[in-house]
Amino acid sequence: MKIAKSLFVCAITAALVFFLNQSWNFGTPLPPFSKFLDPFHGFWQNAGDGSSRDVIAAIPGLKSKVTVVYDSALIPHIYAENDDDLFAAQGYITAQNRLWQMEFQTHAAAGRISEIIGEKALDFDRTQRRLGMVFAAENAVAAMDKNPVAKAMVESYTRGINAYIASLSYEQLPIEYKLLGYQPEPWTPVKTGLLLKYMAKTLSTGEKDLEMTNALKLFGKDTLDLIYPDHEGWSDPIVDNTGKWNFKPITLDSVPLALPNELVALQPFEKSPPNVGSNNWAVAGSKTKTGSPILCNDPHLELSLPSIWYIIHLNAPGINCMGASLPGSPNVISGFNDSIAWGVTNAQRDVVDWYKVKFNGRGKDQYESDGQWKATSKKIEVFKVKGKIDFYDTVVYTHHGPAVYDESFHGDGEKNHFAYRWIAHEPSEEALTFYKLNRANSHADYMEALNHFTAPAQNFVFASVSGDIAMRIQGKYPVRRKNEGKFVLDGTRTSQEWQAFIPNEQNVMYKNPERGFVSSANQYPADLTYPYFVTASNWEAYRNRRINEVLAAANNITPQDMMKLQLDNYNLKAAESLPHWLSQLDSMSLQGAEKEAFEKLRSWDYFNSVDSEGASYYEAWLRAILPMVWDEMSESKVALSRPSTYMTIRLLKEKPDLAFFDIKATAEKENARDIIRKSFSEGVAAMEKWKSEKKLNPKWGTFKDAIVGHLLNKMEAFSYHIEHGGNGSAVNAHSRTHGPSWRMVVSLEKAGVQAWGVYPGGQSGNPGSPYYNSLLGLWTNGEYVKFHFANRPENLKGKELSTITLNAE
């Protein structure tokens, strides 16, 4: 009896130990409890930060000693004797601060999130695999393998990351691994490829070909040209070069493209939101106080923690470069060296097409092309879903690309199969562009570096100590016939395929324009005299004009002036729409809350400053008016895409009797004036509801309710709510979840390059470190970090936090 009792207690104890040592999922996933709470190895060991201690560590294969000095902002300054050691150290140091993020983002790119968080990520994962993300990354690595410089760079970087991973014991693992109960796997060059393709997906797949095909069928071509014009009518292209395109463009056969005439009833995958964008500009020495050029860049992405960017300083013979890097990719992506500076904004260009394919049967072994049957290839994708049995998906590849949508995925029956043609599937060597930019000394070097860049197409701004400024819109763009790329294409005819690419030297670019500055903000690249048909899912309409207006008027510019412009909250959208909207209201008969709202809006200065209430009322109105105008879009059974806000505002003013202004749900026939009045009442009502629920003043910073969210679904515990000015169409393009993910200002002075930068996060990816959010407060207050751009470790004396010495063993 006693034996049974003691065995029973032992069994209970063993069961408890087992239970507490495992991850569980009872609706919400739970970490292995004891393992997680154990103060000797669990999450407690992630508290604080070891970065303030000097350490000696090893990366196998180093040729010489590498010295890494962390400065007081935890920015690493890496001093190596050669390129291989430099990249190995970059990999090691980045992993030391951002390992979990690097792996999570590449798992996301590769469609492997369901391995970590379970079945709810399966649709996302299938989308990634069906878009051919791994296929694209493998093609990129195959191209890098052919170039000895790129190959050595990626392999050294990989070696550095893996040396760090190999040095980790359980207690040193980033907390997210402990929370979710999994382990890091070795890094590979394909993961670097995946990261670059993930950026390409974020920046170049906002197309709406399926939605536009539906709109064409439902509304007709004339309406389409009215509400989704190729040119929206504003006049500030990035490169203002009217009629001076001195080259002979490639022309295709003149067979006019047949426009599709069908409804596509499938459910498109989730696109990047239109608030992904960026600003960059450079002013010539003639406009600055010091006489040296100043270059600025602020890419707008989803603001997340750990941050998308990691500031790093790379120094070795032939390179002394600093700026923002992407954890998971070698080199600096937006930065400066002793001679030049560069920055990027998204070019928006359409480099994605959907081809309707005809298979020979359910087996999809063959597909039709010019009357012939071609063989498909099939890739079986396995998803190791956490807590479930493996899920299998077969992705069928045609020469266009993978057939993303079919009867098993977001499709409507067996008729509609669409294959995805995406420029990022092609072999490319973007890593080489950044390798060369990091080492560039002149405008000629910059031009050569950009020749290697394929996707995602970017507006590369440039400035040099020698006094040049330049802009080039670089990417690999198919030569398009008019209207090509806006709608789905017929995949059975090769005449509909991409026939040729615009040669690099015919891309939109210029150098040292007379106006003394270059700028880009995701707007149209050139005016209609550019001899190629240019299309995109959306063009930015406001920031670009504000930037140009400010830069054109400014003289004796200082870096502080440029910071002020990056933080400029002027809302041109509101300035162009609000006076008209207010004039349509019957202001004499307004009462109560509506009267109060009217007064706040009328006295508003159009600045989305953090304390402004007018900005909140305008936003509430805008949120009411857009769905009211475009109720036809949201109530449609097939996918449609709302026209731009810019066009909506213009149509309300210029076409007050447009059929779209009639609200479907009402018996009366409304016009623009009715819409403006109704949406005003609705917006004010929404605002009153907000006020009574929150019991707060609707200051813009409060009303916006911005969050910088942790990569794990904005997990509250590791995320921050912030109050900051700006809005999507202000230069300071900070919306609720997106915004300037990196702000950089570089003054290219002959006596030495001066640079400032900041991002909303911190250098450490560890939520237990004081450096997890140490830059977030600065960013929110509009402050910058002045960079210590020291070309020798000795010059950092007094500014260092700690030193890491890396040896071969």
Partner: protein
């Protein structure tokens, strides 16, 4: 007296074991100490519970204070009760049950002799 000795020795033995081995080594330590010291089942359970709970609590508190509670404050948002308390409870529960197992095994084997 033997109770206090068991508490202290459990904490000390588990501290050493956990410095080198994974968390479950504490269960073995608490059981072994209980086996050797040979308190009655109920007392052993309490002593194991208290020994490990104190050890885990003290260690966690030390980390919490030296890191200015940056991480504790965040993890508290993930847990139903504060991390410090939960750490002590979970550690104590395993320590107590392990000690009880050790004590019962001892009495089982003594009985057989």
């Amino acid at each position: 007296m033997k109770f206090i000795i068991q508490v202290l020795i459990t904490a000390a033995v588990c501290f050493v074991l956990q410095s080198f081995l994974p968390w479950w080594s504490m269960a073995i330590g608490a059981a072994a100490v209980a086996y050797v010291i040979d308190n009655k089942g109920g007392i052993s359970f309490l002593a194991g519970l208290l020994g490990v709970a104190l050890l885990w609590f003290a260690m966690a508190l030390y980390i919490d204070m030296s890191s200015h509670a940056i991480l504790t404050a965040k993890v508290n948002k993930l847990l139903p009760i504060p991390a410090l308390a939960l750490t002590a409870i979970v550690g104590g529960l395993v320590g107590g049950l392990s000690a009880l197992s050790g004590a019962l095994l001892k009495s089982t084997f003594s009985f057989q002799k």
